[in-house]
């Protein structure tokens, strides 16, 4: 029957992986927003070749499952690094490639595609008439951007970013493919130690439920507060 001591042992092991997972998610989101912002800029300004490349990249990222991306990256980036370093004359063993760095690289790259779409959508949600209005009262391009467009785009984008954070926490469950030990991978470790699969996975589910449920609750509270403020002003 259900082995409670294995369950609690599972929770104890899993909790050690929680800070690492949250930190990794935050890092991925941050890099994703920065790189995604650059991509969104390229597409919104219709930079000749680059905007098409970004479009293809976004379509590729959205159309291919995460685990396939991770496996492709796992078997390409360390090798590419090794051969690049080989050109300079440094011997590099691909097995030494740090797994946390690989996970960070892979997830940020994929997240940047998602965030570029989010940011683009947020900017497009600000009507063109507002830009015209800002220009007509004599604001410069920069002024209208900083005072009119960005504040409004942020009200749309921030909830999307917060949602993305929760999604990244969950999607890190596949990071074991590149060797990063997140919550689910820790539960696998617990399963191997206690010989109880079901109990360990239930422990992981409980941890995920608490973390994602709490974050969802706080973020939706934040969102309600945000939209209330908007309505009053």
């Amino acid at each position: 029957m259900f082995d409670w001591s294995a369950f609690f042992e599972g929770i104890r092991i899993i909790l050690t992986a929680v800070p690492r997972t949250l930190l990794m998610s935050a890092g991925v989101l941050l890099i994703g927003i920065i790189v995604g912002g650059i991509m969104a800029l390229l597409r919104m300004n219709r930079v000749p070749v680059l905007s098409q490349l970004v479009k293809i990249f976004v379509s590729y990222v959205r159309g291919v499952p995460l685990i396939v991306h991770l496996l492709v990256i796992l078997y390409s980036i360390p090798d590419a690094t090794a051969s690049l370093l080989g050109l300079v004359g440094i011997e590099y063993d691909t097995y030494n490639f740090p797994s946390a760095l690989l996970a960070l690289l892979a997830y940020s790259l994929l997240e940047s595609a998602v965030e570029s779409e989010n940011i683009r959508g947020a900017f497009q949600s600000v009507g063109n008439d507002q830009i015209d209005a800002a220009r007509s009262i004599g604001m410069t391009r920069r002024q209208s951007l900083v005072r009119i467009i960005i504040p409004q785009a942020l009200t749309v984008a921030i909830p999307l970013f917060l949602n993305a954070f929760i999604k990244i926490i969950r999607s890190l469950s596949l990071a074991f493919t590149v060797g990063f030990v997140d919550i689910l991978a820790a539960s696998n470790v617990a399963a191997a130690l206690t010989f109880r699969n079901l109990e360990s996975y239930f422990a992981a589910a409980l941890v995920y439920w608490v973390i994602c449920g709490l974050l969802d609750f706080f973020f939706s509270r934040l969102r309600i507060g945000y939209s209330m403020e908007e309505r009053i002003s």
Partner: protein, 230 residues
């Protein structure tokens, strides 16, 4: 990158595609139906059932898909054995479909709930005042309006289901990813990048195709959007 090997492998991977597509289609239909049911139950405000459905949606929305698959694969036999049901003949495909339906119906129910909320309260009163029964109101007033609103998000969820099929090989299912594992093992692991790259392209084509169909349906449905009088 060995391109001739990639071209050689593609047919062998596509051989395993029917099982992926079968699971995808069955899981999509069941998850959508179940999602609508859950959304309706949650909005009907039935005493215990509504809370249970809240718990269900909250649980499956906050854990990753892979964990759902593992829980079903290890947990379902456990539950069935308690009820004394023989689990010997339950195939991995069944576990896979059950897991995908459980996971995705929770997400889809949330989409339909949001769409349901977008219908103004006055329409319910209007339907009631001309003497429609509850069932008539659901089928003639609510659902026709809910669908066009929900469709774009449901389309995204459907593509998510397609992409979720890629992790089913982790419970030993030989779908396209399972086939990839076999090919890699047969070639002693020297062509990993090539095989996974072919899979990436297959999935890319597949999800672009599904996205294209969903777009067409969306254009059809958008005719009925926004309280247009037909």
């Amino acid at each position: 990158m060995d391109f001739s090997f990639m071209i050689e492998t593609a047919p062998r991977l596509i051989e395993a595609l029917p099982i992926t597509i079968f699971i995808f289609i069955v899981a999509t239909i069941l998850a959508t139906v179940l999602g609508i049911l859950i959304a309706m139950l949650r909005e009907r405000k039935l005493p215990i059932l509504t809370q249970l459905m809240w718990l269900y949606a909250s649980f499956f929305r906050s854990i990753p898909g892979l964990l759902v698959i593992l829980l079903v694969y290890y947990g379902l036999p456990f539950i069935l054995m308690v009820f004394g049901i023989n689990i010997g003949f339950i195939s991995r495909v069944t576990y896979a479909i059950v897991a995908l339906v459980l996971y995705n119906s929770a997400h889809i129910s949330e989409i339909f709930r949001a769409a349901y909320r977008s219908i103004p309260e006055s329409q319910f009163d209007a339907a009631r005042s001309i003497g429609m029964t509850r069932r008539q109101m659901s089928f003639r007033i609510i659902l026709p309006q809910v669908f066009p609103v929900a469709w774009p998000s449901v389309g995204n969820a459907v593509i998510e289901i397609l992409k979720d099929t890629s992790i089913l090989y982790l419970i030993g299912l030989v779908d396209i990813m399972g086939q990839a594992e076999i090919i890699i093992a047969n070639t002693f692991g020297i062509y990993q990048l090539e095989v996974y790259f072919v899979i990436a392209i297959i999935y890319w084509i597949l999800s672009s195709f599904v996205g294209w169909i969903l777009d067409k349906v969306e254009r059809r449905l958008s005719k009925y959007k926004g309280g247009e009088v037909a």
